[in-house]
Symmetry: C2
Subunit: 291 residues, 2 copies
DNA sequence: TAAGTAAAGAGAATGATATTCATCTTTTGC
DNA sequence: GCAAAAGATGAATATCATTCTCTTTACTTA
């Protein structure tokens, strides 16, 4: 009957571990363990199986999780509404972002926003486009950065057209060509980004009807930048990822222009808390002034 | 953070009084008073104004009530899901009904259902068609009786065609006529039902393009039955209200047939608890065998 | 195979909460 | 002015939540 137990349960499932959940929620591991035991006892159902190195949902836990997580989400909304009612410039805004936004925008956004509203706090969740949309839809986050068009019906705002660029080591024989010839993409050794579920680069190659000579594959974009910079091959990335690159690089446009449309979205603008709306407005202004 | 507080608050608003809410929830008046004080203290907002003879929502309370009541509704759904998971023949089914169903069907339905599933409990709420649809949509009840077509998008099942009948005192000069002539409706003194928000009888008169000679008005259908039976006038009622009438009456059909389609509805059949689905199935079978 | 590590569990202690009981206060209607 | 009905209050107590400390488990690595 106590929502803190529900929060402990939901967070534990998200983290896959009592210890991590406890850390995030500001409890001790023992506290979370007791709480979940008490919850299981209260409803008379085993929610988690405890193994070495973590916990996993039981079938029953899986069925019940949506109720608990929706209750927690409503609780958060209620709390934010209370803060709005009290006219306070405080609140907690939960944001979903993907890699390039996390790296290139978030630190500056939070800094400039924090100067305007020092009492509004943040929780940042990192994921891919699909995950972020899911978090927004389920109320796990208040708003999130998206690739438009979104798959789900959300309130969205377009922010930035992010162009795909070819990156080469400085001094590469073709570094002088701008735009970079499509044909050359098939000839130079290519460093592939290991994308999880979104196949953005492949979509570009498909559209160009060419196939790159993949030499290496890497998961981290910083790794790719380093590899390209050191002459191991060429690669392609959205322009946004190339700002403030610590490695010397040459960036060139493609013959055909490919863009991803980056936006920000939430479940419903009118239902959002004042803090969330303020953050949204700030992001739009900040990006407009960006570059 | 404790849902019992939320339940206390929601129920108190519904009842308009700490004392009544306490009675319904099985607490003392003092307990509810303390709980609401604690809730107000916890969120730092005054939710209720306490006046002579009851309580009333503040503006803030009104804004926050939907969150609390939705959390309570989810809590109830979660509890029912737990019971389903445990495969128990137990549960609490909350039903919205309107007058004729409450009087003519509910007692028999509950009795026969109770013989099959003695451990399933009920909470019955009485209201008009609109209120009931609202309760279903908001999750205040699990299912409810309706006049079809429903205004909102709900899962509904048609149960019964209820025909409007003219009722006369035994020995009335026109008691022998069947169907009862439309013209005569304008001539005999008529006892009007004081309907709250639904204007069903008026719709019938409008369709017939006649205007009755209203002699008396009464709120309770039992009162009308008694008045008609004692020769104070004639009236019109859905046939369902006339079953088991304690007063001697003559019932006659109209020249033109008017019916209301009575059904039962819920938010979503697949999401409903096993208890609710069992009750629904039972109602459908019972009504089919009815009369 | 033993030590190290990273998880979870259990029990006692204690501080915080929930709930009731009994007692007041206020308002309203007669 | 008094009874009835509603809410408020404070003390008492039982219950609960959380932490601390100490075990247990099982995988990893030397």
């Amino acid at each position: 009957m106590s929502i803190v137990r529900y929060q402990a349960f939901v967070r534990t499932v998200e983290c896959g571990s009592f210890t991590k959940a406890a850390l995030q929620l500001g409890y001790t591991q023992s506290g979370v363990s007791h709480m979940i035991n008490a919850l299981e006892e209260e409803i008379g159902v085993l929610l988690l199986t405890r193994d070495r190195g973590g916990v996993q949902l039981t079938a029953e836990g899986q069925k019940l999780l949506p109720y608990f997580s929706e209750i927690c989400s409503l609780q958060h909304q209620m709390e934010e509404t209370v803060k709005d009612l009290k006219g306070l410039d405080t609140g907690l805004v939960r944001i979903g972002t993907f890699t390039s936004v996390s790296v290139q925008w978030i630190p500056f956004l939070l800094k400039s926003f924090g100067e305007l509203y020092p009492n509004i706090e943040f929780e940042i969740l990192h994921g891919d486009y699909d995950e972020i949309e899911g978090w927004i839809a389920s109320g796990r986050v208040d708003c999130g950065f998206l690739r438009l068009p979104a798959k789900r019906p959300l309130d969205v705002f377009s922010l930035y057209q992010d162009e795909w660029m070819v990156i080469l080591p400085p001094g590469h024989p073709m570094a002088g060509l701008d735009p970079f010839p499509t044909q050359a993409l098939t000839e130079c050794p290519f460093i592939q980004m290991d994308e999880g579920t979104d196949y953005e680069i492949e979509a570009v190659f498909d559209a160009l009807q060419i196939c790159p000579r993949v030499q290496y594959t890497a998961k981290e974009d910083q790794t790719i930048l380093a590899m390209v910079s050191n002459g191991l091959g060429i690669s392609m990335m959205p322009g946004l990822m190339l700002h403030h690159s610590p490695y010397p690089l040459v960036r060139r446009r493609l013959e055909r222009n490919f863009e991803r449309n980056i936006g920000i979205g939430l479940k419903s603008l009118p239902m959002a808390s004042v803090s969330t709306r303020r953050f949204l407005e700030h992001v739009r202004q900040w990006v407009q002034a960006y570059e």
